[in-house]
Symmetry: C2
């Protein structure tokens, strides 16, 4: 048994089933060990941003880690933007990054870099192997580390020679920690706050946006009359017919300030205090009124579900009071293809238990609003704001849930960042329907430009936000990676194509050619 | 004048002409300042790896820095692999990375990350603005820092509010430093070594591979009978007819050990001691014999040209003794399309003063060998081994040298990493002919697998190195980004398509469908 084999056995024993990989020479013994194993499924991706984003999507849906296999510092660097999103999503993930043998490092070969420095940026736990045996031992610790709190990104740096040198044995990961419970005193204190007469709102995030937790939140809201807000970019939000619905905190700070401004007291449940995405001249960073009090019932890393259950008990509300979302059937859309008609089509046609990976950017709010009364679904948002997440997350979710339909609501500009995802979807026949929102623009940046008060933009300024010269042809790009594709110019065309895609297994990209009124998007959002 | 405008004026005054950009909200005042300026040309790229790779290619050919404009930590992360290559290439580059306003950072908004930690990995100089006025001042220092030694990557982190707040003035960068001269004592010592009777070889890198320096190296080699080796992955190597040619140190360690093993003494000129790219079981890291002496005439960061001139004087060799490369005209190739026939076509057809960006991986050595007697050209290699460099570098080189033909010799697997380059080439009508080597494989990894002695690979192992299931359709991918494309299956087809491409301005991708015998590639490489 060499170090690579000992590590692999350790990971398999810890329940790892999937390895998203873009390996190189320094990982070749790990590749060989996986190749000799019948237990880990390797999934090749043609760029590391796909690897890490897919592992994030997998973890969101499987509630357990996949491993990634990455090639030295530059390979890890290519995956870092989606590791940033994964860190902000609090998902479990184990990165295995090869590095040179320690005796080779001082020679400063071309691919030498400070892998640890790369890894520390987005990983809570980073260790480098010191021997073949230690490599396997660290594998067990890495898996354990992913189950700290809601989830953590752990990175194990595997020196090439520790993979090929002989190892003694594999190791067993200790049982995953349970999330710490919120104390009864905290629950009582929050229950008391709900009786103080202040105008109160709840802000939900993390596990509080899962169906089981939302039921209790819904009862508490019904009993107290206090509204439920949800964080703007949730890791996984379970919504649709028969579930308790929430109001998402708007993306634009000025809208959020309006929505939240009337409350005197906020109760956080698995969420942080709402803050602006960016700083803007003359706009505050914190989106709750400065005079409001903010109290946390449970942090993202505490047991949210029992805390909500206890709070419901404390305020004396039992089952049945929660308001569940009705089925809302919009008319079959017609005419111009817009975010609204796309949302209506999805609401009408998505199957029960669908998964939506949302990187729809300027189209997302409208589609989100229109699908509230559609079939039950999980909504996965861009947690860290680093674009290029949507396609990989949809792919990883499809790997985790092969029996569920995945819909990638995907803006064009950000699709380009990890466009290589399409190839892996084709290779694995992932059941993902990509709604590729082609507006020929970094539309969000045109809005941000106006919000930042930089003055009337010149044509040269606007050219830097314009991706329509030349226009990207998404049917061709998809065909280049063997993904079935079609193009829709009207609501009717889109509806027909989406309907066909819902009835077929495997990846399908629908290029939705939309025209957007930038000013209207801005005023409409919430 | 706001901070962004003061910074831009500072950069313009320091000679900056080009900004490769993928901006976001936090850089919007910089975008506006560029938009209002007539002096800096902004070039939009749809992924940050294209931005940084293009700035590297530009610097290699322009011998001066471009600026990059990047969006916070994740935007910088996406550009880091090519910053790694740029660092190893010793090119000048100024990265301008936006970050949140300092007062916004403590709120941990989604895109908050440690931008400095990202930047330090590949930049020699990193500073964050402390005020609008300081932002401009740091811009001047950043440009100065790029001219330390042969070249440096400098990163200026621009807090969003320092871009929009008022600034007093712009700043003037101090005159670029001159490279330090090698002392006469070092030159005399090396001249003495050349008379000690030991079997000696020169290893050339950095500026020693430019035409002006090669002339002196050629004279010294002719006089002493000592061969000229060149580093395996040079930043910019000027070669072809009428120039002094060198023997490149082979990529594979076992080949390099054979080639270098007979020498007792090595003289380094702008190069480091040759080392293996990776560590392998039972293979040494250092590629010169352990008993050999290694002496540096001039480091990469010293003045190589005067050192060579002085050494020529010291050993008493004047003009005219250097051996210049003859024009070698291969037959017009026919039959199967291989690296050899591609090399022959390029040798026959590339125009004088062409630029070759080499990310040909397993095809590169053969094409390199075949083009030795072709027209004069600059050969730009993958300096840091981080793949995804070839297309962006070719693009940046075309921006720097609009009157020269650029040939991107590009492997398929690595092309996918920064495939977004094609769109920027189309947008800017960059004069790049991409020879897309489609072998449906990470062929190099199949070779590395064998070299690493991991045992007979299973089908599952090989599937992790196989990018041919499904096959990428490069004509479709190119069409999706508005780049003209054609496909060649035979030497004749390739020759005809390459000939047509040489006679047309603007980007053209030729998908060269090649079959490779992996074992043969390995045994052939040098």
């Amino acid at each position: 048994m060499n170090g690579a084999e000992a590590l692999l056995k350790t990971l398999v024993d810890a329940g790892i089933e999937i390895c998203f990989a873009n390996p190189g020479t320094s990982e070749m013994h790990l590749v060989s060990a996986i190749g000799r194993s019948s237990e880990v499924r390797p999934i090749l991706c043609l760029f590391e941003g796909v690897v890490t984003g897919a592992a994030d999507g997998y973890a969101r849906m499987a509630d357990k880690p996949a491993i990634t296999l990455l090639h030295l510092g530059p390979g890890l660097a290519n995956g870092m933007a989606n590791l940033h999103n994964a860190k902000k999503a609090h998902v479990p993930m184990v990165n295995i990054v090869g590095d040179h043998a320690p005796y080779h490092l001082p020679h400063n070969a071309p691919l030498t870099s400070d892998v640890t420095a790369h890894a520390k940026i987005n990983s809570t736990w980073v260790k480098t192997s010191t021997s073949a045996d230690n490599l396997a031992k660290l594998g067990a610790i890495a898996v354990q580390q992913t189950s700290v709190g809601t989830g953590r990104v752990a990175t194990l740096i595997a020196a090439a020679n520790h993979a090929w040198e002989p190892a003694e044995k594999s190791y067993r990961a200790r049982r995953a920690k349970i999330l710490p419970d919120v104390s009864p005193e905290v629950v009582s204190a929050v229950a008391a706050l709900l009786r103080n007469g202040k105008k109160t709102a709840f802000v939900l995030g993390g596990h509080a946006l899962r169906e089981d937790a939302l039921v209790f939140a819904g009862r508490i809201a019904a009993k107290t009359g206090c509204p439920l807000f949800g964080e703007t970019f949730p890791t996984r939000h379970q919504r649709g017919v028969g579930r308790v619905s929430i109001t998402r905190v708007p993306y634009f700070a000025e809208h959020a300030l309006g929505v939240l401004g009337e409350y005197e007291q906020f109760i956080l449940i698995g969420a942080a205090t709402p803050v602006a995405f960016f700083a803007y001249p003359d706009t505050p960073s914190v989106l709750v009124p400065p005079t409001a009090t903010v109290t946390s019932l449970a942090s993202i890393d505490e047991a949210v579900l029992p805390a909500l259950s206890a709070l419901a008990d404390a305020i004396g509300v039992g089952a049945g009071l929660e308001v569940l979302q009705d089925r809302v059937l919009p008319d079959r859309p017609s005419g111009a293809l817009t975010a609204a008609t796309i949302g209506d089509t999805i609401a009408l046609l998505m199957p029960d238990n669908a998964i939506v990976s949302d990187e729809g950017i300027t189209c997302a709010a409208e589609v989100f609003a229109r699908t509230a009364g559609g079939a039950r679904h999980d909504w996965l948002a861009i947690t860290g704001g680093a674009i290029g997440q949507g396609l990989p997350v949809s792919f990883g979710a499809a790997i985790a849930c092969p029996d569920r339909k995945v819909i990638a609501l995907q803006a064009d500009g950000s699709a380009m960042y990890t466009v290589q995802s399409l190839w892996s979807m084709a290779r694995e026949n992932a059941d993902v329907v990509i709604v590729l929102l082609n507006n020929d623009s970094y539309a969000i940046l045109n809005i941000e430009l106006a919000r930042l008060k930089t003055g009337k933009p010149s044509d040269k300024t606007l050219s830097m936000l314009d991706i329509g010269h030349p226009s990207l042809n998404w049917q061709s790009i998809a065909a280049g990676m063997n993904v079935r594709a079609s193009r829709a110019h009207s609501a009717e065309e889109f509806h027909a194509q989406f309907e066909a895609a819902m009835q077929t297994k495997g990846p399908h990209l629908i290029e939705a050619v939309i025209k957007q009124d930038i000013a209207a998007i801005f005023s409409m959002e919430n």
